[in-house]
């Protein structure tokens, strides 16, 4: 899992460094994100993902203690937070695509690359979160049936924390670098 995480780190780094390149090179980069809903939602999503990491690490600790009931309870909370993250993110995408008419190649505000960067990076991250929720569900099921060990829970935790870690870069670089400053 660690080696997968290293390779995935380089994938996201390449995307984020490329994004930083086009962000800095385009003086007319859009700043469409107002406090409500975009920044409030994305901040809530950050809180949710950080909380999911907390429940995950507590779940791993419970698994290592051999406390099966607590492990499953923490894994369920982690999956709940992960699913909430995906749902809120989906509403964000809906607003951008349907209401604001943003596509990967155009938007009403400025540099066309905004859409491609935003949907590409957040889309790949959202895919990771979705896969993570399914992965945790499988691990929780197997751990409950005594088919998986505490090590399996810990390895799934590594993946989940990595997904959280990536968001720690996506949130400031994509959202906070594009806040609407005209009303402040």
């Amino acid at each position: 899992m660690w080696l997968f995480i290293v390779s995935d780190t380089l994938t996201f780094t390449a995307l984020l460094v490329s994004y930083a390149y086009v962000r800095l090179a385009n003086p007319d980069w859009p700043r469409p994100f107002e406090i409500w809903p975009a920044i409030a939602k994305s901040s809530a999503m950050t809180l949710i993902l950080l909380s999911s990491s907390l429940t995950m690490v507590l779940g791993v600790a419970a698994a290592n203690r051999g406390d099966r009931k607590a492990t499953l309870r923490y894994l369920m909370w982690t999956m709940f937070f992960g699913a909430a993250f995906v749902v809120i993110h989906a509403t964000e995408w809906y607003t951008l695509i349907v209401v604001e008419k943003v596509t990967p190649w155009s938007n009403p505000w400025g540099a066309p690359l905004f859409g491609a960067s935003f949907f590409g990076i957040t889309g790949l991250h959202m895919t990771h979160v979705t896969i993570g929720v399914v992965y945790l569900a499988v691990i929780a099921w197997g751990f409950g049936k005594d088919k998986f060990s505490a090590i399996d829970v810990e390895v799934s935790g590594l993946y989940w924390h990595f997904v959280d870690l990536v968001w720690m870069f996506v949130f400031p670089m994509l959202y906070l670098m594009s806040v609407d400053l005209t009303k402040h």
């Binding site: 380089l10 800095l24 290592n64 990595f162």
Partner: protein, 115 residues
Amino acid sequence: MSSHAPAVEGAQHTDPSTHNAGTTKLFLTVWVWLLILTGVEVFLAYLRLPPMIMLTILVGLSLIKSVLIVAYFMHLRFEKIGLFLTLIPATVFCICVMMIMFFPDSVRLMDMRPH
């Protein structure tokens, strides 16, 4: 990293008993710090700083957050030094190469823009 941590010394990676490092209080403390740093980032976003400076500060804070996550939530702080040395230097080297390749051109292109 802490290869000298008593809880892990001489232990095998696959032994679950070696991974009990960290208490609920420690994890809660890390979680609170992560929230505080996130709050600082949101506050900074509303300061009218040039994009290059803003990006540098935000990525710097995110790096601190990622170190906290990797060290405590992902337990690397409590693993053997060998795992740290296997993973982190190579990853940092690759990321540095990306930065060295991309950013000078980015800055140069900005300077070449017609004013």
